[in-house]
Amino acid sequence: MTVISAAQLAGIFCPCPPFCLHQESKLTPELIHRLHFAFTITFHYLFPQLTMGLGLLIVVLKTVALRTGSEEWDSAARFWGRIFGINFVFGVVTGIPMEFEFGTNWARFSQLSGGVIGQPLAMEGVFSFFLESAFLGLFLYGEKRISQRMHWFAAVMVWLGSWISGFFIIVTDAWMQHPVAYSRLPNGQFEVVSFWQLLLNPWGLLQYMHNMTGAVVTGSFVMAAVGAFYLLDGKNKEYGRIFTRVGVISGLISTILIIFPTGDLHGKYVAKNQPAAIAAMEGLFHTETGAGIVLMGQPNEETGKIDNPLVVNNVLSFLIYGTTKAEVTGLDRIPRDQWPSALPLLYYAYHIMAGLGTYFVALMILAALLLWRKRLYGARWILWLLLISFPFPYIANTAGWMTAEIGRQPWLIYGLMRTSDGYSSTVSAGNGLFTLIGFMGLYALLGLLFTVLVYREISHGPAPQPQEARAAIAD
């Protein structure tokens, strides 16, 4: 097995210090394969979260357009359809590698688990992608070949397709987090014993609600930010009002739902089933009755303490068990070899997610109040906040996924298979690093192109162009 010493690379490549510490500064194949998947999935998920959130909001715009016959709302739907189209393509091209990487980088895991999680992955292709791609083609290219009602229906099907896709991915992940409905064959492979139990894994249902709400948060913030931009800029003001209104209303609903009930229920379920993860997320080194919640501070693995802590007493016990006196398991009760292997990263990911989530609710309540008092469109300070806040849901969604996946470590399938047993043993660190660097270069280019394209669409504005009015729709 090829092992490249980090010293050889003169410290140029240590993308993630906590990993490197644990691996004794070696770029082992396991580390490379983990980074490979982590990097490509993180970049990929920047796109589907907007696809899924925006899909729903486009249906809202299109529905209003159809019911009121308003040209403006129709143009608004078309405008977001164009951005959706760009976003969708980037989601597709970065998504195809994901399905392959199970086999290319995680072969031993795939060999054993294919009978279970290959199932939802194949179902995603069969039930969602065909639906989504067929109707998106129709939505973007076919408006003048179909009726307005049919066009609305195409928008609904695209939205549905993206949410079905999200469901199957969550089912896949949920089984790795909380394996259910399986047995083992004599050759060690996992086999499904109940199809419905696999699909209705309680972990998956909770995670699905939480995740889809998160996607709507992203969609709402992006729409509100573009609206705020138009209002501040003074161009396309009529569209600016539509976008901020829809963005703020759906933002208010989704930011509340993401904390309660979806985040709350999901967190409780994690606490019950992955005590090591919750202890590390909260930075709880010692088992406590009436455990407090750490708002800020830096976890110190060496001393087993939080440095510079800002703690509110009893809150953690209450959040998990509904009583301030309950005992919460700390890391001291968990064998060291079962601690999440990148503990500080997990702690920060979780705190960033939770902190941003709190900010989202505050911002959206304020904006909604101003909208209700009919003062939002002129209140420049909050429009500015809405504009510059659009990256935060992306960060929060990413941090949320990092919390889930780093929290699962050191397990690949929780309690059943360790991550160190799952990667492709025939693919050396050198070959893995080669393609990881390749993906990094390629995705840097993609990120740049995406930004340019969306920037162009936004500066063009939603108003129909003369040539567009003739062709009814541009792709």
């Binding site: 393509v89 392959f100 292709g125």
Partner: protein
């Protein structure tokens, strides 16, 4: 029995992918030289605009089906063909993005760059797919645990220690390149009009001659590299219908093209691709991935297949889901029937 069924279902997905994405890859290859004006380029791209993304779904759905029906094969082949697969992924990314970008950018210099990337990525993908199939037919140096890792090339000989590329797999790549170019030309012949249509149609006969020559070369070399490919045919002689089908399909392309029935000519080309792939599958069955390191290391159907419950449950949703999928495909193609919209604006 379940293994037999799933073997052919996976084969159906692969055939679906090759026949459908095949024509838009072909249009991509032709894009390098066939359209001469900006309007013609747009017309040729608009002929695949609404459908290429859906065509690529067959690859994803096929990959997923392979994953759950034959996990060992998926794990072994995907990690063993690591480097070429990653290159395929990069090409798919570049191809999809350059196609999408072209709709949004109107600066001539960039358009030329995007056209080049799109065409080259399409051509390389076709070559890689052909070479991939040839790699499977030739076999790989499997270890006892069912895994292997192939370098991109060794000495270009299909011996015990081959690379991804050797003279045999290069022939496979060329067959795919030319056959998909022909497939794309037949599609353009249906979907575009004017001078571009005439140029596409004129290209068909020369391409057909090339396809016939390469088909013969690939057949002969396959028998030379892996004589066992013929065993199934001798055991069940009625399966010689496959090579007959290949010939009939090639004749069909020629005949319908001469009689100006482009849709039928295009379908014949689909039938040709179907028989070529089915013939290859039948040549290796019931082996999924032959070993060059000794037949006892072959990954066979019974060794790679998933558990019985997985497969029987899968059959229910797979049939249901694919019926839906085919319905969408038929619906969308029927909406976009006839010549592509040239006036659909780009911006």
């Amino acid at each position: 029995m379940m293994g037999f069924i799933w073997f052919w279902l996976v084969a159906v997905m692969i055939v679906g992918y090759v026949v459908l994405d095949g024509f838009d890859l072909g249009v991509g290859i032709l894009h390098l030289f066939l359209p001469r004006t900006e309007n013609e380029r747009r017309a040729s791209l608009h002929s695949i605009g609404p459908v290429w993304d859906g065509n690529e779904v067959w690859l994803l759905a096929g990959g997923g089906t392979l994953y759950f029906a034959f996990p060992l094969l998926y794990a072994s082949a995907f990690s063993g063909f690591y480097l070429p697969l990653m290159i395929v992924l990069w090409l798919l990314v570049l191809r999809g993005v350059s196609l999408e970008l072209r709709n949004h950018i109107d600066v001539g210099v960039w358009l030329a760059l995007l056209d080049g990337v799109f065409g080259l990525a399409s051509a390389l993908l076709a070559i890689f797919y052909g070479a991939a199939l040839a790699n499977v037919l030739r076999g790989v140096p499997l270890q006892a645990d069912g895994y292997f890792f192939l370098p991109l090339w060794t000495n270009f000989q299909p011996g015990a220690n081959p690379g991804i590329l050797d003279w045999y797999t290069v022939i496979g790549g060329l067959v795919a390149l030319v056959a998909l170019t022909l497939h794309g030309a037949l599609w353009l012949c249906i979907k575009v009009s004017g001078e571009l249509e005439q140029r596409a149609c004129r290209l068909i006969n020369p391409l057909l001659v090339l396809v016939i020559l390469l088909t013969i070369a690939s057949l002969v070399s396959t028998i030379a590299v892996r004589p066992a490919s013929l065993n199934n045919y001798y055991r069940y002689p009625f399966t010689f219908v496959v090579p007959v089908g290949v010939l009939a399909a090639l004749a069909g392309i020629w005949f319908f093209n001469r009689n100006r029935q482009p849709v039928k000519a295009f379908l014949s080309s689909g039938v040709y691709l179907f028989f070529m792939l089915a013939g290859a599958c039948w040549g290796v069955y019931p082996t999924l991935l032959p070993a060059t390191s000794g037949a006892d290391r072959d990954i066979t159907l019974s060794r790679a297949v998933s558990g019985p419950h997985t497969l029987s449950v899968g059959l229910v949703w797979w049939l249901f889901g694919m019926m839906l999928a085919v319905a969408y495909v038929v619906f969308v193609y029927s909406r976009f029937k006839g010549k592509a919209d040239v006036d659909a604006s780009t911006h």
